[in-house]
Amino acid sequence: MIGKIPLADVLVVSAALFAIGLAGALLRRTAIVIFLSIELMMNAANLALLGYGAALGTVDGQIAVFFVIAIAAAEASVGLAIFVALFRHTETIDVNKINLLKW
């Protein structure tokens, strides 16, 4: 129990967010939406980390999330740079159409 909130509820919300993110990453064809779904999955993991950190009363949950957020920032910038470079060559955002190793 975290205050008045049972830990199981936090974990269920985290699992649901992860599932939505997974669905977006696997079933959508737009590169940007796939990327956003990956960010959503990372946030679901953050929520689970914070839930456990709060339930156990340690600071490790917050530290882990701190690092995850910073690393996500680095990854998002590089990912978007790749996306921009790709888009300049292929003029499309549909990942199914980007199917050549070299053009």
């Binding site: 830990l7 699992a15 953050n46 701190f66």
Partner: protein, 168 residues
């Protein structure tokens, strides 16, 4: 009271996350995710992590997603290109697999996720923002410094990827 806020914030976060996945317009997707992250930050406050909530809004919702929005606007991507789905079987099998995965995960977590015999956590005993800072600078100093190198690498990498090559 916290229960009501948690339920409301969780529902809104989930609804907007679903909107993000379902929307045809990438700009609307990004904005739906911003709202979802904002309400996730509200949940973080309820989990006694106000510092992480502020960092979530400042960095994730306020910088990373702004970067997404910039890229979308600079490349003028308004709507997903329409086209027939070439492999509908992929969607059906993928959707089914995700459904099974979700059901199993939710069932497992709600039954066995909580470690037994845990005392209820209170705000007074929760780690303070000062404790987080002390831990980052003492126990986790090496990852912290490595993180700064990582950010530098990402900065340089992004720049190199996007700059146009000068062919002689």
């Amino acid at each position: 009271m916290e229960r009501i806020v948690f339920d409301a914030a969780a529902t809104i976060a989930l609804v907007f996350a679903a909107l993000m996945v379902l929307s045809r317009n990438p700009v609307k997707s990004v904005l739906a995710l911003v709202v979802s992250f904002f309400f996730l930050a509200v949940i973080y406050v309820l989990l006694f992590a106000p510092f992480i909530a502020a960092i979530q809004v400042i960095v994730y919702a306020g910088a990373i997603l702004v970067l997404f929005l910039f890229v979308l606007m600079l490349l003028n991507i308004r709507h997903e290109g329409s086209g027939k789905d070439p492999r509908p079987i992929q969607r059906i099998v993928g959707g089914g697999a995700i459904l099974v995965f979700t059901i199993v995960l939710v069932a497992l977590l709600s039954k066995h996720g909580t470690p037994p015999g845990l005392p209820p956590a209170s705000e007074a005993a929760a780690p303070h923002i000062g404790d987080v800072a002390r831990a980052v600078y003492s126990d986790f100093l090496l990852p912290f410094e490595a993180l700064s190198v990582l950010l530098l690498a990402a900065l340089v990498g992004a720049f190199v990827l996007v700059s146009k090559e000068h062919r002689p």
